[in-house]
Every structure is written in C-alpha cells, then in structure tokens.
C-alpha cells in the first residue's frame, strides 16, 4: 500500500516533498504519484492536507523536494497554471463583483478573450447551478453559493488538473450532492482531481483511490478497499441494540471470528471481531429471531479517526 500507484500516465507527482514553518513540520517527506481520475486526500484536521495542497498547487514553496504537474516542475513553469484549477479552503471572494464579473475576470487572466471568457464563465455557472444568481454581487451569496463560485472559477478555463481543498464545506445536502457528482464527472472525463476532506464517506462517494495523511506524512495510499482490509485485521467493535443482550451474547461467543463479547447495558451488547464483515453478514439472520429483539447495529470504528488509529498502530 505504501509507495506510488502503478500507472502509465502520472499527471501529478511529488518527490520527497517537505514543508516546514520554522520548527513546525507541515508536510514531511511526501512522495506520491497521481493519475487521472479522482483521488481523495483524507486526514484529520491539522494533518497537513491544506499545506500539502498549497505546496502542490504552487502557493507555498517546498522546503525540500519537487512538485511535478503534467511532467513539469511547477515552480519553474508558471505557465502550468493554465492547466490547473484550484479551489482554496479559505472563504475568499471578490465581494464587490457579481458572480459573472468575477468569473469573467479570472478566466480572462487565463489568457482568454473577453467574449470567450464570458462564454466559459456562463458554461461554468451553468455547470455549478449558479446561472440564476450570476448577476448578484458575491457579497450576498450564501455559504453554499460561495463554495460553488469557487468551483466555477476552477472549472471555467477547462484545466486538466484540479486541486479541491475541502470544496464541500458549508454546502447544503443538495448542493453537496450536485458538487460531488460534478467531481465524479470530472474524473470520468479524464481530469486529474485531488480532493481533500476530513469526512471519509464524502470521499468514498466520489472515489475509491485515497491518500491518507497523518501528521504531515502519507500514512497509506491506494484503494480504499485495500486500506479497509488492512484496518479489518484489527478487532472492530460492533454495538448491537437489542432487547435481550444476555441471550444474544452466547450466539456470538460461538463464532470463530468473534474475539470478545460484553454486555454494556440492558439494551446494548458490544462485540469485538477481527472479521467484522462476517459478523455483519450474519447479523440479519440473527435479527430474524424475534426473541432476541435486535433493533440496530453499528460499528464504532468506522470513522476516520479510528482508521488512522489502526494504521498508526499497524505502522509501529
């Protein structure tokens, strides 16, 4: 799982990339190779995702190492920015401009004529469902609309490589779904999309390829299924809500894949298993036994924090 992804066409790569702020290390010796499609950059808050994004997108110079975009060193070729679309995490916009003015301006700065920039801005507004609000000043936009206009400015010049830093923050569920579908479509169109998030299921909904970042380092890289399999080598805790936890406990004790069972309360049974998928497979059958009164079950370890804890533990 560690090391670069096998690929015939690497569009985005870093080599031994490090960035530190004085004594503080933001990104530590990161080497990755990313191919077209959507790649999720996952990490808890403070993991170094934004610093890595800023360095990879040419906003911060690396203290050490190289960033290659489409085979070229980004810090030696500013012209590469024509082929990059960047959505920053910060909520920064040209407040006094209308949405359309802002997009036309930023697209013209990519070298397009006024008419072409206008056409592209309109297309990007359409794609991000902002056409109806295009002539309102950005100052009056909701948080979700502000995120969309940030996406639109990254799309308008039709770049090949996208850096999207927490692009769904503040979006309502409908906008979030639309934006996630847009990201998936970009990947399907052959664009290279690196999207960061601290929400696991958000990334899973767009891609199976992830980079896991922890304390400035890439902890794991590859298919999310492979990473999950690695995680599943560790005992998972499954919380089962039922009417008869004491009656249910023996049914799990006899399973080979179960390492431990504990009655947490009158209504909760906690099961520890190193093969949680097998337990989940059997649970529906047990739920059919009305005498056990099983209401629901959930894994307590399926969040990002647990994933990191397992991986960190695994690396020791």
């Amino acid at each position: 799982m560690n090391g670069p992804s096998p690929s015939s066409r690497v569009t985005l790569a870093t080599e031994e990339l490090s960035r530190w702020y004085g004594q503080v290390i933001g990104v530590n010796d990161v080497t990755v190779s990313i191919t077209p499609g959507v790649t999720g950059l996952l990490g808890l808050n403070g993991a170094g995702k934004s610093t890595l994004f800023k360095v990879m997108a040419g906003q911060l110079t690396p203290s050490k190492g190289v960033v290659r975009v489409l085979g070229h060193d980004l810090f030696r070729h500013r012209g590469l920015f024509r082929r990059i679309g960047f959505v920053a995490e910060a909520d920064a916009l040209y407040e006094s401009m209308t949405g359309r003015e802002m997009l036309v301006y930023l697209t013209r700065l990519q070298g397009f004529s006024r008419a072409e920039a206008r056409r592209r801005a309109d297309a990007a507004l359409e794609r991000t469902h902002l056409s109806d609000d295009a002539d309102r000043t950005v100052r009056g936009y909701s948080k979700g609309m502000r995120q969309k206009i940030k996406l639109a400015q990254a799309l308008a010049h039709d770049p090949e490589v996208f850096f999207l830093d927490e692009p769904f923050n503040g979006m309502d569920p409908v906008s979030r779904r639309e934006a996630m579908e847009l990201v998936v479509r970009l990947g399907e169109e052959g664009k290279t999309v690196l999207v960061s998030s601290h929400i696991l299921h958000e990334v899973e909904a767009m891609t199976s390829r992830i980079l896991l970042m922890h304390r400035g380092r890439i902890l794991a890289e590859g298919d999310i299924g492979e990473i999950r399999d690695a995680v599943e080598r560790h005992p998972h805790r499954i919380e089962i809500r039922c009417d008869q936890p004491r009656a249910l406990a023996p049914r799990f004790i006899e399973m080979e894949e179960v390492q431990g069972v504990r009655v947490e309360s009158e209504k909760i049974l906690l099961v520890e298993s190193d093969l949680p998928r097998e337990v989940f497979r059997r649970l529906p059958h047990l739920a059919l036994d009305a005498s056990l009164g099983i209401h629901s079950w959930t894994t307590l370890d399926d969040d990002l924090k647990s994933l990191f804890e397992y991986l960190v533990e695994d690396g020791r």
């Binding site: 920053a88 920064a92 072409e116």
Partner: protein, 287 residues
C-alpha cells in the same frame, strides 16, 4: 491574439496555449488587473469617506469667496490652500488610504490566491494594482482641485491672471506627483509589513513631516523636501503665505527644480520596482 484552438477557445499570444513556460503578457496582465482593481475601488466605501475629506478645501474656498476675497487675492489664497490643505494633509491621507491596501487588501482578503494560481507575472499584478490606486487617488485629488478652481473663478473672472494660472498649475501637478510617489511608498509597505497602516503613519509623522523641517541636509532625503522644491513661488506670493505654511514650504538648501523632479521620478520608479520585487518574492500564507 494569435493562437486559436477550437477546443480551447480564443487565447492570446503566439505559442501553444498549454506551453508550460507561457505566462500572460505583462501588458495584458497589467491591463486586466488594473481594470478589475479600478472597478473594485470605485465600489468601496473608502471612496465616499475620502470624497468627504476632499470637500474640506471646497468648503474653505466657499468661505474665502464670502468673507476673504478682500483680504487675500486668488493666487495667494490658493497658494495657502495648496500648501496647507492639499500637500500637508490630503495628499498623505489619500495616498495612505489607497496606497497601503493596493495589494494588502488582496493579501488580507486571501483573494490573492486567485491571482497566484493564474499564469501571471507577480510584478505585473503589483504594477496593475498600483496603477489602479494611483488613478483613483489622482482623480479624486484632481477632481477636488478642479472644483476648487471653478469655485474660485465662477463670477470672479477678474481673479484669473497669469500668476494665478501658474500657481494653480504648479500645485496641481505637484499634488499629482506627490500622490503617485506616496502611493508607491505605501504600496511597498503593504507588500512588506503585517501592519502597513501603522508603518505608513509612522513614515508620515516620524520621517516626512519631521525630518523635512530639520535644518540639516538630512531633510533632502525626504520626498516632501523635493516636492516643496517644485513649488515655484514668485517672491511676493511666498511672502504672503501663512507663517505655518511657509515653515513647511521653505527650502533651506539649493537644488534646481528639475533636480528634485528627477529625484521624485526616480523615487517613484524605485519604490514601484521595490514593491513589485518584494511582492514577487515574499511568500504569503493564503487560505
């Protein structure tokens, strides 16, 4: 406007649109950044605030028209107004409030990230924004001076003589040159310092206005000294100036006016280039 690719749309320039070394031409970058910045500046509340401040000389002119014309002729009144109100107060105020935010607004507002992720020369971005603030600041002061002129001469055409036109034109040009120079100084501070407004105020009071009246050669290192040296008063006009104004307009050391003009133009160029140089090299922590 040469390379046209149907798939890419109309792009400007001669080489391949995706060439990694190809940044937007400097003149085009300056023009685009300038246009957007002017639009942004005229929509700011700052314009209203400074516009109100620029009503002060107009108010004084009205007072002069009503009460002062018998005591002070137009030339002498305007020489006092130009020296005391425009050069000693309004030029500093307008330059500070437009020069400091020239690029600092983009840094503080984190919108700089949009410009830094475009294929643009950073020097061109700086120059475009500086030219925009200089245009707006210059137009504000020019408009105030023009209205002042009209208030002085409407129904008072007898006030217009060659001496008045000379003094007025002299102050008009010196005020514009002053605002261009000071905005470049303050824009440099906006790129280099975290609290440029504080540094700007310090610069005005601790350097320009203080050092420029110290009776030693040190005063020649201030811009204000050279601006004063460009004020070409006739002896009798100078003699009529308010003592306070005279104190600030007197020049202790001799230098021909064109020497000061050359120094001011050189200073304008140096501060502009220095601002662009700092802006191009300094790393800003943007969102």
């Amino acid at each position: 406007m040469s390379a046209v690719d149907p798939a890419q749309g109309t792009v400007v320039g001669g080489s391949r649109p995706d060439a990694p070394d190809r940044v937007l031409p400097v003149v085009q970058t300056v023009g685009l950044v300038y246009g957007a910045a002017v639009l942004e500046l005229v929509r700011r509340k700052r314009l209203v605030f400074l516009g109100l401040a620029l009503l002060l000389p107009l108010l004084l002119t009205v007072v002069w028209r009503i009460y002062g014309m018998d005591h002070l002729d137009a030339t002498r009144f305007f020489a006092n107004l130009g020296g005391m109100i425009y050069l000693k107060a309004l030029v500093y105020l307008v330059s500070l409030f437009y020069g400091v935010p020239a690029v600092h607004d983009e840094i503080e507002g984190h919108t700089l990230v949009y410009l830094f992720t475009r294929p643009l020369s950073k020097m061109a971005i700086f120059v475009g924004r500086l030219l925009a603030v200089q245009t707006v600041a210059g137009l504000l002061l020019a408009a105030s001076l023009a209205v002042c002129f009209l208030l002085m001469i409407v129904g008072n055409t007898a006030a217009i003589d060659l001496e008045f036109i000379e003094v007025y034109t002299n102050y008009f040009l010196v005020v514009l040159l002053a605002v261009f120079c000071y905005t470049a100084v303050f824009a440099l501070m906006g790129t280099a310092f975290k609290k440029p407004l504080v540094w700007g105020v310090l610069y005005i009071f601790a350097w320009e206005t203080s050092v420029s009246v110290i009776p030693a050669r040190l005063q020649m290192w201030t811009l204000e000294w050279h601006l004063r040296n460009l004020i070409l008063h006739q002896q009798d006009v100078a003699a009529s100036l308010n003592r306070f104004v005279l104190q600030f307009l007197s020049v202790d050391y001799a230098m021909p006016w064109w020497g000061s003009l050359a120094i001011l133009l050189a200073a304008l160029s140096i501060f502009t280039l220095a601002g662009g140089w700092v802006f191009s090299r300094k790393e800003y922590l943007l969102g």
